[in-house]
Point group: C2
Chain length 131, copies 2
DNA sequence: TTAAACCCTAAAGTGTACTAGAGGGTCAAA
DNA sequence: TTTGACCCTCTAGTACACTTTAGGGTTTAA
């Protein structure tokens, strides 16, 4: 399968596929006589794995590690795999908490501003940021 | 006040201060005879404003705009100011929602994994990512 | 006097995940 | 035969907010 076909199948850019190859996320495919990449069928599954993992918040580097486990499942344990998702969950929770704090702080000063059309000389938002 | 003193006072890197200057977030300070930057006292407040605004989720560009309003308060309205924070609040809410969705998806596959020490050949996390 | 601590500029590097551009070769159909 | 669609490599650009490096000059205390 040539790169254009693969790109269409998995709905990714041709450049993205070459980029993933350069980052070691997919193996270098064999080449046709003219130098074109010739992907095996399982490239489709591998790329779908990558897309799913991205969707649930993994970075490309993390996905690379995850793929290393996936292709040698027998040499790894559920524990190892679950560690990945646990760490990711912790990170996501932390980000949500940080954003929630920011939101609360912003909400507070937002609510106290009158929003009127007079000059902002007395604006409570600016005052809050000044202190 | 020289840059090192200011950096210590507001707890920012010297380079960061010069970077903020290059981005127009703080005015170019006067120079001493030897060429060293000599900051006025109000730089401290200005930088604290910037730090607070960053904490509340504004980008440097947005802070620049906000500062433009702040120094010419009389020419702007509360409405304008409140618009800024409203937009920011919307963005933060959207980010939280996105993260919550990712969290839910990840949580789901995470919970279904046994986490045991046997081989990951049957791991439901990997299976979820494969399909 | 000399060493540490401080200051300067300008340019390049960092991380993330691509995206775009230059410049060129290959293939199928009209 | 020529047009258009496809493929190749290599390099650079994108956004953001710094951080680092190189190569200097200045001040202060021992
Ligand atoms: Zn008002
Ligand atoms: Zn107001
Ligand atoms: Zn298991
Ligand atoms: Zn498992």
């Amino acid at each position: 399968m040539k790169i254009g076909q693969l790109a269409k199948t998995v709905d990714l850019d041709i450049q993205t596929l070459r980029y993933y190859e350069s980052q070691g996320l997919i193996n270098e495919p064999q080449r046709l006589e003219n130098g074109y990449r010739d992907y095996p069928q399982n490239s489709v599954e591998r790329l779908r794995f990558i897309k799913k993992a991205k969707l649930v918040g993994f970075t490309l580097k993390e996905i690379k590690d995850l793929l290393a486990i996936q292709v040698t499942k027998d040499e790894h344990t559920c524990q190892e795999v679950k560690n990945f998702t646990q760490i990711k969950l912790d990170e996501i929770n932390q980000k949500i908490n940080e954003l929630s704090e920011i939101k609360a702080a912003l909400q507070k000063i937002h609510t106290s501003c009158c929003g009127g059309e007079e000059t902002a000389a007395h604006c409570s938002i600016l005052q809050a940021l000044e202190n």
